[in-house]
């Protein structure tokens, strides 16, 4: 086994120790102490950046959710307000129409009553005229036929009795 046999040689162990110390020392200093921390720092920085970005994304998501909720509430509110405005306008229009209708009704009724009164009055005066004319005619007829003069009041009474049955 050369690993053991060569130990007897003067240079073997000294050379192995010297070169291992030199080369492994260089590896430790250059790679272990020089390069390794930088690579580790890069990885750490990346991990931190990813964590930060994820946190930011989560926050943005939450704020977007909030905004959406707010928007929905707002749109609900404005929709309700719009519906209310429409309802109010409808109600108001209906009330106005009713009021106007009532007014027109009242006017028409008034006109009707006035017209009815006129008609009644006209009928009354016409009746009176007819009575007086009939009485006159009756008294003239009586006078012509029998020569008896009938008092105007009697003639009127007789005519009234006939007319009103």
């Amino acid at each position: 086994m050369p690993q053991i046999n060569q130990l007897a040689e003067n240079w073997f162990f000294a050379s192995q120790l010297f070169w291992l110390a030199l080369i492994f020392g260089a590896v430790f200093v250059v790679i272990g102490l020089g390069m390794y921390p930088k690579i580790e720092a890069t990885v750490d920085a990346r991990d931190r950046k990813i964590a930060d970005d994820l946190a930011a994304a989560k926050a943005a998501h939450a704020s977007a959710d909030g905004l959406e909720e707010q928007y929905r509430q707002q749109s609900d509110l404005s929709r309700a307000a719009a519906q209310k405005a429409v309802q109010d306008a409808k109600d108001k229009a209906a009330r106005d129409a009713e009021k106007r209708l009532a007014k027109v009704d009242a006017e028409l009724a008034e006109k009707m009553t006035a017209a009815e009164a006129d008609v009644a009055a006209a009928r009354g005066s016409a009746m009176a005229e007819i009575e007086s004319v009939a009485a006159e005619a009756a008294s003239e007829l009586v006078a012509k036929l029998s020569g008896v003069k009938v008092a105007a009041a009697d003639a009127k009474q007789a005519v009234k009795a006939v007319l009103h049955g």
């Binding site: 060569q6 590896v27 390794y36």
Partner: protein, 260 residues
Amino acid sequence: MSAEAGKFDPMHQFTVEPIAKLFAVEGREVWLTTSAVWMAAAAVILWLFMLGGMKRQLVPGRWQMAVEGFTGFVSSMMSTNIGPEGRKYTPYVFSLFMFILFCNVLGMVPFALAGLHPLTVTSHFTITGILAILSFAIVLVVGFWRHGLHFFSLFVPHGTPWPMIPFIAPIEFVSFMVRPFSLGLRLFVAMTAGHVLLEVFANFIVQSSGAGVAIGLPVGIASLALMIGISALELLVAGIQAYVFALLTSLYINDAVNLH
């Protein structure tokens, strides 16, 4: 592969070849060796690999993703085993894991690079042992630094009845002291055994070519099929052993940081 013609030696691949003498300290010579070259190659490839992950983009490309996969793997292992305080030790465990992984995988390269046959550096207990002792030393230093002499309470598991302490404590002590050996030997043995196995089966294929069609062809094909499977298995072992070394180191550091 066998150095001496005709003689097959599956252990030869582990031989460290000296290339050039550099200097000597107190009579001990230090040479540039094939082991040093392969360690340096692993370190340079590891550095290039890591360089691809240094673009530091917010949205990573494939290469950066791969590098961050490794760092994330080790850092999550540390935070699961030790907790938030584990981050302090992650650079060490990450260097350890990546260095062992790249040495293991580079040792699997099936061809020679620039005339150098691949040497699995981690198949030498002189390397794995030193790494294990380094991890163990860190555990000791951290343990005594944070807890002082209270660190010895590690040898008395929580809730041990008083009469049992004289028996439990020595067992715990021995199991604690065995850690660097088991840590170093596990990697060394796994890598050595795997490469011996690869060498033996590869040799079967070579040998079967001289045994005629009747015997050589079925043996060669069967060996090749096994070789493919074992190569895949060895790639798996290369990853797993690096992981086990790093995992156990993190568990031992956890003992030192949090006691029981």
